[in-house]
């Protein structure tokens, strides 16, 4: 049973190996062909030719945060739906009604967000 998962572990290792090997080889070859390795202007952040006048990690729009919260709610919902979908023919009408109620509660919340404008981007 668990041995079925061994190939996945190997695959993850191989994929990581491919990524690291390509990056290291490419960086070394690239370094070898460079003419001005540590040029200050070259290593400054791209910003229309100006000096960057402030740190880029600053405040951002709160709506991104809101989207992240909504995502957690919906993603949990999906996590609940998967086992229900697999066992669909074993749980009968009780299962269908239960999931109907669960989805209805979610839809009420979704409608509320919609009405409140949490999904608006302008």
């Amino acid at each position: 049973m668990l041995s079925n998962y061994l190939p996945i572990l190997i695959y993850l290792a191989v994929a990581t190996g491919v990524g690291v090997a390509l990056l290291v080889i490419g960086a070394l070859i690239g370094r070898y062909f460079t003419r001005y390795p540590d040029d200050v202007e070259k290593r400054s952040a791209y910003e229309c030719g100006f000096e960057a006048f402030e740190d880029s990690r600053r405040r951002f729009d709160v709506r991104y945060y809101l989207v992240a919260i909504l995502f957690i709610v919906f993603d949990l919902e999906i996590a609940f739906l998967f086992p229900w979908a697999v066992a669909l023919d074993a749980i009968g009408s009780a299962g269908l009604v239960a999931m109907g109620i669960f989805l209805a509660i979610l839809v009420v919340g979704f409608a509320y967000e919609w009405k409140k404008g949490a999904l608006e981007w302008d």
Binding site: I8, Y11, I25, D75, G100
Partner: protein, 351 residues
């Protein structure tokens, strides 16, 4: 020589060899997809596309274009910006690439070739495709450049929104097949074109394909890169092979989404003529060529979209994700649940 053959007979070694074969195939497929894309878009715009590098005796001019590009990127310096977070900066392309390659472990390539035949295959797919988002976010954060930051924020919000629609669409697939094993999902669609999931799950298939385009940051949803607004988005500070890794990850993801669309909705390695022709007819036989044809068709669809549609505005993308796709999937899951319960359609008999 004998010990080498003994070693080759070990299951672990054979699995590793298959893994290497699949990985190299995916990377080669990426190389030719890039050429395919440039040629298709060239023809759609009445140009020739790349036609200089590597013609074979005058045929197929431009066929080695991708290899020339890789060689060029390989000898370019990887510039690390002075104010960047160095470790994260190096880590990001690898985090983007690993899921794009490793998810192929559970994709059923032919009736008897799947590298890891696990029951939780679909959960593994969802888990790894979500991990790929981290590559983008970390890249944007680590570079400490304003364009990269904007691209990463946009792409995170966009991918998160479309991932929900994608997950709901997959719930519908699981309801139809009763299994999270990708091989079983394909098996359940056996019996010709009209028993494929696309017929009864058409709205979900549509949602899945659109979300797939958004999830891979492809046009017309590529605001994460949006070169006319934020230069190159999250990978603006990446150069040389580090950029090539992002590029590789993006195209490997496109191939992956194409393969998954085929598996979930278009019968994977099943033949479309299965059930209409006698079973021993070569056209009815299941196998990798059918999956290959389906993947190529979806790749063409991606390029076709790119050549046809202008880029969406960001608020339009978010509106499409939250206000159109998610309601569609919610409604169709309810409809499907009721249909399955009353035995309408090809569902398993409800208990």
């Amino acid at each position: 020589m004998q010990p080498i053959f003994d070693l080759l007979a070990l299951p672990v070694v054979q699995t590793t060899i298959w893994i290497l074969v699949v990985t190299v195939s995916v990377i080669l497929a990426v190389a030719f997809s890039v050429l395919f894309e440039r040629k298709i878009i060239g023809w759609m715009q009445l140009r020739k596309g790349p036609n200089r590098v590597g013609s074979i005796f005058g045929f197929w001019p431009g066929v080695f274009q991708a290899f020339a590009d890789v060689l060029k990127l390989l000898i370019k310096e990887v510039v690390v910006p002075a104010q960047a977070n160095k470790v994260m900066f190096a880590l990001a392309p690898i985090i983007a690439l690993v899921p794009a390659l490793a998810t192929w472990a559970v994709v059923p390539l032919s009736p008897d070739l799947v590298i890891a035949n696990i029951d939780a295959g679909l959960l593994y797919v969802l888990a790894l495709t979500s991990t790929g988002i981290y590559g983008v976010i970390i890249a944007g954060w680590a570079a400490n450049s304003k364009y990269a930051m904007l691209g990463a924020m946009r792409s995170a919000a966009q991918m998160v929104a479309y991932e929900i629609a994608m997950g709901f669409a997959l719930v519908g697939v699981v309801m139809a097949s009763g299994s999270l094993n990708l091989g079983a999902i394909v098996q359940q669609q056996a019996g010709g074109m009209l028993t494929w999931n696309i017929i009864w799950l058409f709205p979900l298939a549509l949602v899945y394909i659109i979300s797939g385009v958004a999830e891979t940051n492809r046009l017309p949803f590529d605001v994460a890169e949006g070169e006319s607004e934020i230069v190159a988005g999250f990978h603006v500070e990446y150069s040389g092979i580090a950029f090539a890794l992002f590029f590789l990850a993006e195209y490997a993801n496109m191939l992956l989404i194409s393969a998954l669309t085929a598996v979930f909705f278009f019968g994977g390695w099943l033949s479309p003529f299965d059930g209409y022709l006698p079973a021993d007819n070569w056209l009815a036989r299941p196998g990798f060529p059918w999956l290959g044809i389906k993947i190529s068709a979806f790749m063409f669809f991606y390029f076709w979209l790119r050549a046809t549609y202008p880029r969406y505005r960001y608020d339009q993308i978010m509106r499409l994700g939250w206000k159109v796709l998610i309601p569609i999937t919610l409604v169709w899951i309810a409809v499907e649940g009721v249909m399955a319960h009353f035995g309408v359609g090809p569902w398993r008999a409800a208990g």
